[in-house]
């Protein structure tokens, strides 16, 4: 449905997007993930025909963006990062205007406006001025605007930015409900959004695609190994020896001391029964097991790993002042698990 081939975009000497290629199949929801300034918005603007690429071609629904922009624009619904709303218009008037410039036949406009108002649950604000709407409603009216001409492809640039948590959940739900009818490309720098809504993730950084896969596969691929945290009440050396007995276990490290007990970090090969076996081993040895937690790589870790070389440096720095890190165990764990992956 969307095909991007070798697209490069330069602004003067600065390269915003560098030779990227990807495809999105019909009906897919693809998340475009990357830090701010990675080139997400630029890529979307190229797809929607707002910007011409410096090099390369992009096509939507079989139409080349450069050669037949009008055909492409008819098939794309686009929600820019700042919803393109006219504050001095009423919501209903605004949607009628958008419908008209999207070339919907005049007779059909009232029906379409009603349909998108219902779809995005904005019927209640129909007669209000756009400028008076809350951020959540603005975003929804923005979505309504993108949906009004029943586009095959939806391009949503950070659809949940600046919303409060409740609104974020609502907007995400709305996006999920649009899946199937539309092919959706959405960009975000918030990771749970991708995990929750997208079937596939394209990670982009500094204008290049770093990875493209399902959220699960990305996690699995990069994970490779398993790490666990075990909070055990028992004699340190014996515990270590017992834990190392397990065949899957590769390494046992003292993670921290807590209330006279020791928290161990266990690194092991992927093994579904590991948790169960270790718990059994601890309990049958007569020690107390106070806590057990998997330190799986979250999308956050993957994202950081893929997108920033600096993050490695940051992690290294974090590890030096051990006593300080103790006061913030969660940050410490995060960095250590990252380090574990590097080995």
């Amino acid at each position: 449905m969307i095909q991007v081939e070798g697209v490069t975009k330069r602004y003067g000497p600065k390269t915003a997007v560098s030779n990227i290629s990807f495809e999105v199949e019909r009906g897919e929801i693809v998340g475009f993930l990357g830090p701010n300034g990675a080139g997400k918005t630029t890529t979307m603007r190229i797809l929607t025909g707002f910007l011409p690429p410096t090099q390369g071609t992009a096509s939507v629904a079989g139409f080349d963006v450069g050669k037949s922009p009008i055909e492409v624009k008819r098939r794309i619904g686009y929600l820019p990062e700042a919803p393109p709303l006219y504050p001095e218009m009423e919501v209903g008037d605004y949607l009628r205007f958008v419908a008209a410039i999207k070339r919907i036949p005049k007779k059909e406009i009232p029906r379409r406006v009603d349909a998108v108002l219902e779809r995005t649950a904005t019927g209640a604000v129909r007669d209000l001025l756009v400028g008076k709407l809350s951020k959540g409603y603005r975003q929804r009216v923005g979505l309504a605007q993108a949906l009004i001409h029943g586009p095959e492809v939806l391009v949503l640039d950070e659809p949940t930015s600046g919303l409060d948590p409740k609104q974020i959940i609502e907007v995400r739900g709305l996006i999920r409900s649009l899946a199937g009818e539309h092919t959706i490309l959405l960009s975000t720098h918030i990771l749970p959004e991708v995990a929750g809504t997208c079937g596939r993730v394209i990670i982009i950084n500094e204008g290049r695609i770093e990875a493209s896969d399902t959220p699960e596969n990305l996690t699995a691929q990069l994970q490779g190994a398993n790490s666990l945290l075990l909070d055990i009440d028992g004699p340190a050396e014996e515990v270590r020896e017992r834990l190392e007995l397990d065949l899957a276990v590769r390494k046992v490290v003292e993670h921290e001391a807590r209330n006279g007990r020791t928290v161990w970090r266990v690194e092991a090969d992927k093994d579904d029964n590991l948790t169960r076996r270790l718990a059994e081993a601890v309990v049958t040895s007569g020690w107390g097991l106070y806590g057990m937690r998997s330190l799986g790589l979250s999308l956050e870790d993957i994202f950081l790993k893929l997108t920033s070389d600096e993050s490695a440096a940051v992690q290294a720095e974090e590890e030096i002042p051990e006593p300080v890190a103790e006061s913030d165990p969660s940050a410490d764990e995060g960095s250590e698990s990252g380090e574990g992956e590097d080995e």
């Binding site: 707002f50 820019p80 393109p84």
Partner: protein, 257 residues
């Protein structure tokens, strides 16, 4: 055409949902009203004295020449101030708020957007002319002015306003700051306005060129009820040039956005 009209009607309505239309109309009504009333007072005074001197045999003074012509001529000065107020927001505001992205990603050609906006502004300008006509129509109650030259002057004013609005539309595409767009428009229009002053003390080719390029001298013939091809051509070219430059500027906007 429907696409142009859709854009134009939105622009036109926005003028009336914001204070712009009311301020422009009120300012114009007051200033034009003053021009017209003082012109009329002068005319009555003058014709009374002519009657007194020449007796009943003297031919009556022409109300077209003494009232309508000067007041419509003065009107173009008011336009210098009002046109920038009308046009400065056209593209600058869309660029600032990001709504330009909606227009440029809609299945529209650039000329639909540009002509639509120009037309929207021209419609508001036509409302100003309507105020002028309202004033002048009072004359028809008491005397019989010639309506044909009046119609031609109105056409001339429409063309002159159209040219000024086209220039303002172009200048509004250059910046996302409305004040900058307005100031630029005022400066350029003022320059075009005074360009012919040079011809009063020089007769070189350059000064003749300046006179031709100036915007106001082309209205003189219209105000007398004469449509001259060169004047018509001047205004039509000015409008086309303004709209063409706007299109180019909009294309450039895509490249640098």
């Amino acid at each position: 055409m429907r696409k142009i009209w859709t854009i134009a009607m939105r622009e036109f309505k926005v003028y009336f949902t914001s204070p712009i239309a009311y301020i422009v109309l009120a300012m114009f009504a007051v200033v034009f009203g003053y021009f017209f009333t003082s012109g009329l007072a002068f005319f009555m005074d003058y014709s009374a004295s002519v009657q007194a001197q020449g007796g009943a045999g003297a031919p009556p003074l022409n109300v077209n020449q003494f009232v309508i012509e000067p007041s419509l001529g003065n009107m173009s000065i008011v336009l210098l101030f009002l046109v920038p107020m009308i046009t400065m927001r056209l593209f600058a505001e869309e660029q600032r708020s990001g709504t330009i992205e909606l227009l440029l990603t809609s299945p529209l050609q650039d000329y639909h957007i540009i002509c639509g906006k120009w037309l929207g502004a021209l419609l508001l300008y036509a409302c100003l002319l309507l105020v002028a006509v309202l004033n002048i129509s009072v004359l028809f109650l008491y005397t019989t002015p010639d309506w044909k030259p009046l119609l031609v002057s109105l056409l001339g004013l429409l063309l002159m306003g159209g040219s000024m609005i086209a220039i303002g539309t172009f200048l509004s595409t250059l910046t996302r700051n409305q004040i900058v767009a307005g100031a630029l428009t005022f400066g350029v229009l003022l320059l075009l306005w005074v360009l012919n002053w040079i011809s009063s003390y020089e007769t070189s080719t350059f000064s003749r060129l300046c006179e031709y390029l100036a915007i106001s001298p082309h209205f003189e013939q219209f105000s007398k009820g004469v449509i001259e091809l060169k004047d018509l051509l001047y205004y039509v070219s000015a409008i086309s040039l303004g709209l063409f430059l706007s299109k180019r500027s909009l294309e450039a906007l895509r490249w640098k956005a």
